[in-house]
Symmetry: D2
Subunit: 134 residues, 4 copies
């Protein structure tokens, strides 16, 4: 397992009239979590794309436990549990400053060859980085 | 089962640099789907809130099948399968104009009494409307 | 002058904890207004892009008069006043159902040749459509 | 004049199919800029609201110079030029890592008494903090 923590500050734009962070905003937070996890391994998501891969999301699930509020400084905990094949799954937990669990979620992305448009294996430079850490 | 269909046009703002509708945007589309389903039953979400209920989302899951693109006119198919208790679950399917399935999803919301902050039963005026239709 | 009206329903996602439509959301509404104005002239924004043009926004200004709220059915009034050169300016007014003016705004976009990356003249097929209407 | 700089990383969600940061997203970035400027003065926007004030935006203008792209680490430069009366204006400049100017903008907000719904003077605790800095 490889973990990475990232702090994120809730924007006013992300709240709704219930004063909660809108439920769809967490998809963006999870994106930030997985991009920063990869960066911590020396992998740039931007580079993955420029090398000819797309990484569309194929599955998202979120269990909402408590609301987050405006200006909360949240901790995004992101994990990878196993070496990816043609898919990679990220596990997310978000905590507020009182260390209450806000929600948990899973996001699975597929590696796609941008030229053929087909699902493909995860590229070696990603596997190499992950193999030393998992 | 009660179904409702709603058309939605993809905005430029909703695309990302892969040219796909961003995966988190579908949470908004699902919101539109369930609000319009309720409206078709004579139930206004705004009225639910003004009667002292909040309806936070407790669960979201999405299976992404195909991307949607800018300016696509999508069909959101939203269903309720059973009479809500303290929770209500909406089932979603999104199709593009070629009738390809874009994704399927489920959203579960809880009825919360805004004064006590506690989960409560679905209000009678909602149960009454649904009972005649399901 | 050429005008086009478009109805838009405020989404829950678009509200903030003040219960107002978030001030940045109107940029999206204006986008919908100008795209639908062009469509009403037989011009597809998607086609403009596929013909090799990009239309980045170079100027945005909004005067906010009154807030819009969740579930409001707004009327977007969009106008073009003159034949575009290398830029095109859209004028926007948004009204709520009580016919109160919510805000007014202007958006100027530049025509850019996607291959050269340079500003260019508006393509003839747009000028032709507009010339008969303005 | 009082200035504050804040770094912000572009999210994938914020790009559009032109690969640019969507023009409406900068309203959110400007929000982050002014909130962090106030925080640097010991003023919490959240506290302003909890003391009975709302701060709706009355005016927004943006001049777009260059696009920002996915994963860019932008520098938001936010300034206040003068002591607010019933309105407060923030001046924004955004630069990319190559120190190119992305855009400049102005946002004016009004102080509103949440009970009366009327525009009011800026509260003393804000004026006090600003007077020592401007």
């Amino acid at each position: 397992m490889y973990n990475f923590d990232k702090k994120i500050r809730v924007r006013y734009a992300e709240t709704d009239q219930m004063s909660y962070v809108y439920y769809g905003v967490y998809a963006q937070y999870y994106e930030v979590g997985r991009v920063e996890l990869l960066r911590s391994l020396g992998i740039s998501y931007k580079t993955i794309e420029s090398m000819g891969y797309a990484l569309p999301v194929v599955n998202l699930s979120i269990n909402y436990k408590k609301p987050a509020f405006y200006d909360d400084k949240l901790t995004l905990k992101t994990s990878i549990l196993k070496i990816p094949t043609s898919k990679i799954t990220f596990y997310h937990k978000i905590y507020n400053e009182a260390n209450h669990l806000i929600n948990t979620g899973e996001v699975t992305l597929a590696f796609v060859n941008k030229i053929t448009g087909r699902v493909c294996s995860a590229p070696d430079f990603i596997l190499d980085k992950l193999q030393t850490k998992l």
